[in-house]
Structure formats: C-alpha cells, structure tokens
C-alpha cells in the first residue's frame, strides 16, 4: 500500500525527511507522532504525491512517486486533510463538496443524497447545505472539508491533525470516521498530538524525530 525506502524530501533547500523507511499495509491505521518539525506533515504530503522524493523510493498504491505523472495519478486515490480547509468562501457547502468530488475525478455529479449523507456523517445539519462557507464557524468548515473527502471514498486517508479546531462532539465524529474508513477497507495515516485519543484507534505508532523514523511499535 505505502512503502518508503530511505526516502529523503526537501522543503525548499532544507531536508525535512532525511531517510525514512516505512511500510504500511492495506487496511492499517497508523498514528504518526513526534515533535514539531519532526517531518510528520512532510511525510503525509510526500505520500499524497504533493512532493517528489529527493532520493530513495516512495511507492503508494502501486505508483512510484518519483515520476510526475505517477504523483498526479495517485492523488486521485488518496485524501489529504491538511491544516487549511481548501474551501471556497463564496460557494455554498454543497457546491464546495460537489466541486471537490468532481475535481477528484468522480465522473458524475455526486447526488444530493450522497452530499447530505457525507455532511450528516460529519455531524452537520443538512440545513447548512445552501449556506456560503464564509458564514460557517471554524469547526463547521473543518467538518465540511472532511465531508468533501468522504464523498470521494478514497483508498488512503492521510489526516494531519484531524481533531484540530473541533469540539468534543466533532472529535468523536472524526474518530468514528476513521473507524468507518478502516471498516470499509481503507488505510488511514493520522498525524496527531492527541496521543491518548488516537492510540485507542491505532495499535501502531510511528514516532518521527529529526526527519527520520525514531520508533515504530510494529517492529
């Protein structure tokens, strides 16, 4: 599913990952932890095909991410929840969710039912459907961003601090979402500082430090 061998990635001219060896099997849930600057976000962006490895190999869903076309091909099969929501302020919640689903390669416009289902799954009232995003709270934006990923049904979930900015109910919903993704055969990699919460979801914890794997509980 995901395999990195001596993977090095740069942020500008600085090495953010200095030689990562990691293998994640299909259906696994993996928690990434480590101090700020350890390389967690860079690792997720690398696996999403947003960065090219400077050296070493990165294979995700059978795609060797050294090549640009392979990186573009893998992007349609993964979902990355980053620090920003990627939502358009002047579009409604439903328009945003539909746009991102279509952009990710869904051939047909997602049905209203599917959009509503995704929003409900994230604990959002379907009364928000026609509300422009600029009228949402930060937590509602975060959930809408997640709903846009849910509609796509990705094979690999890469979640960077998914609980950030959410209230207790929202955090529980994210936990349930991760459980659902795994139950549906998906693979989930979560970067989080909320160790106790995420440990309940994942027996495997990978600790990054200084841009490399410091500890992996599976080995």
């Amino acid at each position: 599913m995901v395999e990195l061998n001596a993977a090095v990635a740069l942020l500008g001219r600085f090495p953010a990952l200095t030689g990562v060896d990691l293998r994640i099997e299909a259906g696994e849930t993996v928690l990434l932890q480590g101090p700020n600057g350890a390389g967690k976000t860079t690792l997720l962006r690398l696996c999403a095909g947003l960065l090219a490895p400077e050296s070493g190999t990165v294979t995700v869903l059978g795609h060797d991410l050294a090549a640009g076309p392979e990186r573009r091909a893998v992007r349609r099969r993964v979902a990355l929840l980053g620090h920003s929501t990627g939502l358009y302020e002047d579009l409604t919640v439903a328009e945003n969710v539909r746009f991102w689903a279509r952009a990710a390669g869904l051939d047909a416009e997602p049905s209203v039912e599917r959009v509503v289902g995704a929003l409900q799954r994230l604990g959002l009232d379907d009364g928000l459907l026609d509300l422009p995003v600029h009228r949402l709270s930060a937590g509602q934006r975060r959930r809408t961003s997640l709903a846009a990923l849910v509609v796509r049904r990705p094979e690999l979930w890469l979640l960077d601090e998914p609980h950030a900015g959410l209230d207790q109910a929202g955090r529980n919903v994210v936990d349930e979402l991760i459980g659902d993704a795994v139950a549906a055969g998906g693979t989930v990699v979560v970067s989080s500082h909320e160790l106790e919460r995420v440990r309940l979801l994942s027996p495997r914890v990978v600790t990054l430090a200084g841009g490399t794997v410091h500890r992996d509980t599976s080995s």
């Binding site: 640009g68 992007r75 993964v78 929501t85 990627g86 302020e89 991102w100 952009a103 990710a104 422009p132």
Partner: protein, 224 residues
C-alpha cells in the same frame, strides 16, 4: 480529452460562480474601468476630438488595468484557504486547470470590454466603423491577456509577492497586445488610417502562443 475538457469546464464554472456571488468584477472592477475613462477625459481636458483620436489607446490601457485586478482576484481565490493545494491534490491536469482559470478571466474581460466600448461611445463620442473588427480584436486580445495573465499570476503567487509584482511582470509582456489591439481599434473606430486586420494577425499569433505556452508551463509553476 473528455476528462481534460470536463476539468477545464469545472474550474471555469467554479470561478464564474464565485464571481457571480462575490460580484467583485461587477461592483469594483467595472466601476473602476469607467472611472479610468472619466479620468482620462479630465486629463485630456474633455476635448471630444482629442478623446476620439486617443480612444483606442485609452480603451486598451483601461482594459489592461482592469485585467490586472481580475487576474489578481483569480489568483487570490485559490490562495485564500489552500484551495490550490486541493486542486493539485485532485490530480487534475495542470493544463486543464490553466484553461479553466484563463477561460473564466476571458469571460470577465469580455464583459468589461463591452462595458468600456459603451463607455468610449458615450463619454468620448467614438463611432464603431467596423463592428466585426471590434469584436474580433476584443476576443483575441481577451484570450491573449487572460492566458498570459493567468500564467504570470501563478508565477507571481509562487514568488509570494503577487499584488506588487504582477503588474511589473505582466504589463511589459502585454505590450505587443496593447500595440496590436490599439492599432486594430484605430482602424475599427476610424481614428487613424491603418490596416487593422493586419494587426489582428499579430494578436492571433500572440493569443495562440500564450494559450499553448501557458498550458505547457502552468504545471511547473503551480507544482512549485
């Protein structure tokens, strides 16, 4: 190919929908365009004969100034909350993204050109002697400006100083469009005895090169 066109259409429709909701071009750029025409009138002492003679050049300078605003808006929409990263993550072809973004700017420019044409007729007393040449020039120049602007907007945003750098980067590159479109309008509005259709050829070449070059180069700019 159908995926390419579907993606380009999706992006263009999204940008136009955002414009329809926010009305930035309609409520801010369009009044600015008319204001520029009025200020040119003040600067030239409101002499209609002088204004008619200079109308083609003033028209295209106003179009370029408005294009800067429309292009900056097109770039900022993708920068606001990481949407550009989302577009990259979508796996969409960068060329399709480029065509989609440029198409939306093109539509907005055409609307502004219609408004400005009405403006020079009303304010400067210009007369359209060759409507077909006016339309052809307007469309080709809009393609050239939209494609070049979309490409340079991505370049400037990558350098992180888009608001200040974009005009400095873009306006010199668009000088041939300004010259060609002004000469073509000189003929179309009967302001000067030139062969406007020959200048239209220059605009057509520029538009083709800007479209093809932009589609090829855009990927490298948004990936970095």
């Amino acid at each position: 190919m159908s995926r390419f066109l579907a993606d380009a259409r999706l992006v263009a429709a999204k940008d136009l929908r955002i414009e329809a909701r926010s009305r930035v071009v309609l409520n801010q750029v369009a009044p600015f365009a008319l204001l520029v025409l009025v200020l040119f009138g003040f600067a030239l002492d409101a002499d209609q004969r002088t204004l008619r003679a200079f109308a083609p050049g003033l028209f295209w300078v106003a179009v370029l100034l408005c294009a800067l605003l429309a292009i900056q808006r097109s770039v900022s929409v993708e920068q606001a909350d990481g949407a550009l990263t989302g577009l990259r993550l979508s796996g969409m072809s960068p060329a399709a993204l480029f065509i989609g973004k440029a198409s939306a700017v093109f539509v907005q420019l055409v609307v502004l050109e219609v408004l400005l044409t009405a403006g020079i007729i009303v304010l400067y007393g210009s007369e359209v002697a060759q409507p077909l040449l006016v339309v052809a020039t307007g469309l080709l120049a809009a393609v050239a400006v939209a494609c070049t602007g979309t490409l340079y907007g991505a370049l400037a945003s990558g350098l992180g100083v888009r608001e200040t750098l974009l005009p400095i980067l873009l306006l010199p590159v668009l000088a041939p469009v300004l010259i060609g479109a002004t000469r073509a309008f000189d003929d179309a509005l009967g302001s000067a005895a030139v062969d406007g259709w020959a200048w239209l050829g220059l605009l057509a070449v520029f538009a083709v090169v800007a479209t093809a070059g932009g589609a090829l180069a855009y990927g490298a700019l948004v990936e970095e």
